[in-house]
Symmetry: C2
Subunit: 401 residues, 2 copies
């Protein structure tokens, strides 16, 4: 009996570990692999033969792993380049050395490209018995074909919850006040849009539309005139028509030393104060917390991430199953439910799924009912969290053991 | 039978509403007041006769109020000045008009000063039947005499949880990385210190000690040399020996336009990158979220805040009870438990309780075991949260109804 490796790549999420937990558990239920190895720090660590053995993980550890945010196996930004033959040869020789038949790789765009490249290489070089399966994850929710990506719903829930809470916070004084919440999302506005679930976003700025400063200031002024407040949400990737990020633009215009010092929210704050449409602004940049604040894990998300891992394992019984990613399809009828399906990884790699233009209301007024109908089912349910001394119990990262 | 008013002042917290809920509930159990009015936006709104009637609040609303962060009655920064006789006369005439015997005021330093000033005024002018009771709240935990302030434990729990989660996040890559978490705390380091509960703070910078840039960079360099990472926590109030905030200092030195653009963490980031002790830094400023992210309400905190409101109501049966604040005393023996006591509000007003110097480890290495023993019991327990459509259910602020 051969073995398998699971590994993680790209930015962490609140539920990425649940996919690993699902693969490990599925193999305990139906041991088609003798060992389930964890490859540390993605392809980077696999090339250095850095493995842990996850095969006999206890049920308790599996449960705690599912509630642990970030990447318990460590991650990497290392991208296998198709012309780097040395890397490919090394990887296949390591798979042979450890008798690894299947590599499960969780990640985003780049990781799906890695899955596609490796399976193509195997096919082109007629290497049999080495297979590659992708499991999607990304808080950005920008992968094609799959209805959504594990990790996004929990990040969306954290953002919506924080928007609701900070909206309550910013309203307590009678004074005039503008609040600007900045979310991740360099190319796609899914995360910023999810703040609308709070029900209190006055102005929403997404990377899907060219930023119009005049319109923005007009909208803020109108809100402030009406309610003395304005709640703004901006995606870090918001940009002008020519592609310049609003952060970069403002940083330059205002003569700051480094563009890195200005986020999109800070840039908007400067516009508001400079123009005089409001005299008080507060900024909250959710930064790293939005992708790892597992306190807001959505039960839907963590369950799907776990089951997706199981589905990947089950489907890998088919000896022809390689170069595929497991996607999530939402049932068209009835209450929210999903099924898993397989798609060629190269159909997903290197594309970006944007927040649909037709779900964006005009004049920065937020999202349509279709947008809400898409988002709302994803954030439902709260998993029971095992606590330890007042804080959530998390596994020690495997790369630190 | 006369009436009472409850009102809120200063910055919001995750559990300030539980004190209101406790007062309302105590009056339902033992109706010593005919009406429990909510004064909107603190003294500011009371002077404008803006009231709601909370007397018959349903049990369900009371439960949801307890889990609602921020100030459901609205807040103010308005400070009654002792020489502003017009305000005092107006307030007493409004109390007479609405037959209000007792004003319960939740807040920090300034609010306790208001409680003291009003009861002194009544005494000096021989006005009987008008009484003033303070209920402490502040995420900063800087009030004297009371063991701690409701609101602080939940903020501490959010900070510790987020520190744990972002520490997991920052470690996933093998690359060199410094992470800097900025907390509130302009004068006192309680909030920043609570990040140590995560178990992963390498460098802690509190306002209680003059900032030593050389020592700071030395410590970061040592951490990076040893582990390739460094997790830094800084209080927004960190300052040099001459009192200059490190944020302000760096903002000026680097030639930025506005000091408001530079937080303490950003200033530290600039120091690290400029000095070359590390080449990669990430910053997370917890900003407003830390005082309203009620997803991390500590059960200890919300229970104490509720019971403190009840205790204030019960003690106000005594017709001599005025000019007092209800404090929390930790039992000295046995497992963590508290009792409530009364203290003259003027003993609390206008002082700051600092994080004890003797609990600070040398060389920015964090806090002592005494510090942990103080903090740890406060963050225990997770209240059951009533959810609504995937997000926590919160009351509509009374000032918006």
């Amino acid at each position: 009996m051969s073995n398998c490796i699971v590994a993680q790549s790209g930015g962490p999420t609140s539920v990425i570990n649940a996919t690993i937990a699902g693969i490990v558990r599925a193999n305990q239920m139906n041991p088609i692999y003798e060992h389930v190895y964890g490859g540390l720090n993605g392809i980077e660590g696999i090339l250095q033969e850095r493995f842990v053995d996850l095969t006999d993980m206890s049920d308790e550890e599996n449960r705690i792993l599912r509630q642990t945010p970030s990447s318990a196996l460590g991650s990497c930004r290392y991208k296998l380049k198709r012309d780097n033959v040395a890397d490919f040869e090394k990887l296949f020789s390591i798979m042979e050395k450890y008798d690894v038949e299947t590599l499960f790789y969780t990640g985003g765009n780049d990781s799906m490209d890695t899955v596609a490249a490796l399976s193509e290489y195997a096919k082109a070089h007629q290497i049999s018995g080495r297979r590659f399966v992708g499991c999607p994850k990304t808080v950005d929710n920008d992968l094609m074909i799959t209805d959504h990506c594990p990790g996004f719903p929990s990040a969306a829930k954290f953002i919506a919850t924080t928007a609701l809470q900070t909206w309550l916070d910013v309203n307590v004084y009678t004074r005039q006040e503008v609040f600007i919440l900045e979310t991740m999302g360099r190319d796609a506005g899914w995360l910023a849009a999810s703040a609308c679930l709070s029900g209190h976003v006055d102005v929403l700025i997404l990377p899907e539309q060219a930023f119009d400063k005049e319109l923005f200031l007009k909208r803020v002024a109108a809100c402030v005139r009406e309610t003395n407040k304005c709640y703004v949400v901006v995606s870090e990737g918001a940009h002008y028509g020519d592609g310049t990020y609003i952060a970069a633009g403002e940083a330059t215009n205002d003569g700051f030393g480094h563009a890195k010092l200005g986020g999109a929210a800070k840039a908007l704050e400067a516009m508001i104060l400079d123009s005089g449409v409001a005299n008080r602004c507060k900024v909250q940049d959710l930064s790293s917390a939005q992708r790892c604040h597992a306190s807001e894990q959505s039960l839907v998300d963590v369950t799907e991430s776990y089951e997706l891992g199981m589905a990947a394992h089950m489907r890998s019984m088919d000896k022809e199953f390689t170069g595929k990613m497991i996607g999530i399809r939402r049932r068209e009828e009835g209450p929210y439910d999903v099924e898993f399906f397989a798609v060629d990884a190269d159909q997903v790699a290197n594309y970006v799924k944007h927040f649909p233009e037709e779900w964006i209301l005009p004049e920065l007024k937020g999202i349509t009912e279709e947008g809400y109908n898409y988002l709302r089912p994803l954030i439902q349910g709260t998993p029971e969290i095992i606590m330890k001394d007042g804080l959530p119990a998390y596994v020690t990262p495997y790369y630190m053991r």
